[in-house]
């Protein structure tokens, strides 16, 4: 499942997309994020349970700002969460 966390406002689309089928719940992205945007939770979508990563409630409505420092206006973007994720489950929409 493609879980979109974030929002759209007058200035654009700000979503972090986590593919829960690829996410194995290892938690490396949680450690890699310097601003604590991600967390591990129990999978509430599937009755089988298991753990999965998601964007915290606290950051969900302001990721444009919290993720800002990782996104330089010019030059190469090295997003630590995307690099840390071995199964490549994380993408950003902006």
């Amino acid at each position: 499942m493609q879980a979109h966390y974030g929002y759209k406002d007058g200035s654009g689309d700000y979503f972090i997309i986590i593919d829960t089928d690829k996410c194995d719940g290892c938690g490396k992205c949680v450690e890699a994020c310097p601003y604590g945007v991600l967390e591990l939770i129990e999978n509430e979508f599937d009755i089988e349970g298991g753990s999965m990563a998601r964007v915290t409630e606290e950051h969900r409505k302001k990721i444009k700002y919290t993720c800002g420092p990782c996104k330089p206006v010019s030059g190469e973007r090295k997003l630590s969460c995307v690099i840390a994720c071995e199964p490549k489950a994380i993408t950003h929409s902006w």
């Binding site: 759209k8 007058g10 599937d46 009755i47 409505k61």
Partner: protein
């Protein structure tokens, strides 16, 4: 002499029991309680069939609302909450359902509930609730493939419509119908903020616009915002609308017109989708607990 306050936003609470089902002989009684931001829904399912349901406004204390909505669903059936084998909580207040054995997110529940109401051909579910709007893509088993939620602003939600109904003094149930009563669709109001949308509507009323025309502009703004959200996850047939706003014909007709896809007609009240999904997950979980699956 002051005027008695009239509440145009106040929608009717209701409950229903299916007359043909006798729960006494049931093997499996499960329930889903969906505590939303504006409305709370409870459904009781007997052997996987809908038996009783209730819909009421969410009060200040979620725990109390959960107990009240469940008691009301069971009102007159002779059943007590303790007779229900498995209760699943969902919605914003899902952690506050004291008698629920398990909580499942409303996204998974809406997909599952829409699958039950509309059948296995459903691929795109649009849930317009009181405080947010979710676009969900699901597969033929009702499993979520992709979802997107917009809960940053009340523009494009049921609460925005309640505020608007109060502004133009038309009861919430009739606001959608009134908005269709225009010859030509006016340009939409602002759609990024519910406060701005209301402010613009007030300005239009001051300019002498008929309230139906203002309603059309407001509904169109909501629909444009919702379509933006939908295109992000992609729309695939069959398309359905659930949640309280699914009852607003002004929104549904404009979605159909602007998307070019007709949403399926519901066989059951679409506001129940989340609670129905929870009840069905409850059945699956109870079967798992019994070792049946």
């Amino acid at each position: 002499m002051s005027e008695k306050p009239e509440e145009f936003w106040r929608w009717r609470e209701y409950r229903h029991t299916m007359p043909d089902i006798d729960w006494h002989e049931a093997k499996m009684v499960t329930a889903g309680v969906d505590i939303g931001s504006v409305g709370s829904k409870a459904v009781v399912m007997v052997d996987g069939e809908l038996y009783a349901y209730s819909v009421m406004r969410t009060g200040g204390v979620s725990e109390e609302t959960a107990i009240r909505v469940m008691d009301w669903a069971l009102d007159g059936t002779g059943m007590k909450t303790k007779n229900v084998h498995y209760v699943v909580g969902t919605g914003y207040g899902r952690v506050n359902v004291p008698f629920a054995k398990r909580t499942i997110t409303e996204i998974a529940c809406h997909a599952r509930g829409a699958h039950y109401i509309y059948g296995p051909t459903v691929r795109t579910v649009l849930d317009i609730g009181g405080q947010d709007c979710k676009a969900i893509r699901c597969d033929e088993r009702g499993k979520v493939m992709s979802f997107l939620m917009n809960d940053k602003c009340a523009a494009g939600t049921g609460r925005g419509l309640e505020v608007f109904a109060d502004l133009i003094r038309v009861p919430i149930e009739e606001v959608g119908k009134a908005s269709l009563n225009v010859e030509k669709e006016p340009p939409p109001v602002s759609n990024t903020c519910v406060i701005f949308a209301k402010a613009e509507s007030v300005a239009l009323l001051r300019q002498g616009w008929q309230k139906e025309k203002v309603a059309a502009a407001y509904h169109l703004a909501m629909v444009n915002r919702i379509i933006d959200l939908l295109t992000k996850v992609g729309i695939e047939k069959d398309f359905v609308v659930t949640g309280g706003v699914a009852k607003n014909t002004g929104i549904v007709a404009r979605l159909e017109r602007n998307l070019g896809i007709k949403p399926l007609d519901p066989k059951l009240d679409p506001i129940l989708a989340g609670a129905l999904g929870a009840g069905l997950f409850g059945k699956a979980l109870y079967e798992k607990q019994l070792g049946l699956r």
